[in-house]
């Protein structure tokens, strides 16, 4: 039968989650309009 003996050192399961969505393209049009809307600070 399957018998699993526990090792002394813990088993490390490492999961890397990189959330690197290329946002800058998505924001570009909105940034252009923010600049137009607020001429006194841009």
């Amino acid at each position: 039968c399957v018998n699993v003996t526990a090792p002394d050192k813990p088993i490390v399961i490492e999961l890397n989650i990189n959330i690197r969505q290329e946002v800058i393209y998505r924001l570009d049009a909105d940034a252009a309009n923010t600049i137009e809307e607020n001429p006194e600070i841009f």
């Binding site: 399957v2 699993v4 813990p10 088993i11 999961l15 990189n18 290329e22 570009d28």
Partner: protein
Amino acid sequence: PDALSDTLMGLVSSLKGSVQGTGRIDWNAKGITSTGRFASDGLDFAAPFGPVQGLSGTVAFTDLLGLVTAPNQTIKVRSINPGIEVNDGVASFDLHPGYRLVVHGAQWPFMQGTLRLEPVTMTVGAAETRRYTLVVEGLNAQSLIQRMDMNNLSASGVFDGSLPLIFDASGGRIENGQLAARAGGGNVAYVGALTYKDLSAMGNFAFDSLKSVDYKTMDIKLDGSLSGEIITRIRFTGVSQGQGAKRNFLTRQVAKLPIRFVVNIKAPFFQLFGNMRSLYDSNYVADPRALGLVDKNGKPIRKEPVPTVSIQPPVSEDTP
């Protein structure tokens, strides 16, 4: 509030709201004395670290011209946003000669727990690197998940810890922030529909047995910029299958193994708040036409790199 804003002019901008008060300046043999009491029911302004709204309270000045206050003045702050917005804060402070500000403490309700700022002293207007420590007490995992709009995950557990903050010319960042789950641990479970339809049989098995995980201990390390990217290292141990996870012979065996899960999330903190939803909620992502990415008949206006969201559940990598 223009008079007030002159002294603050160099510091804060777009001051809105009204200040009522009385000031007295007396000349006598000993010299000039000036006192005053000023109150506001809600000041908004833009500070270097971000917008502040609804600052209210009454401040008594013992030396009005020197901007020195009586001890322990308290004010309320409806909202402050240095990268993540915190609401309904209360702070107590006094101002000393030479614009020396002594903050006795400040406190915000935060995710069913509290954020408490430890006492700190600074010179108003001086360009200096300022170190603060935010103590977190009783942060509830479920309200954190709700705040992050992740309705596909449920989590339980109460966390305490501290977030050392450093504010300098380039903004605010957390250095060596630590949160730890209270005794008794908690559970993390995926309650949404399975989004990775193409999981293999092994994948479905792993998913079913891992979709609800009880943990005994969980420590979270946070480092990074409040207005930019925060690296979060989550380590949880004492893992066993939670309620709702499929159990069978093998998982019972596996459950005996001392498994330590380490999850490193490298994500922009603020984006983490909105981004998770766009991973599985397509109508949440803005319509590309409205954002000027594609024209009316759907032709991309510029070459847009495909978002490289790389969440690598161990199973979905094709085994060599």
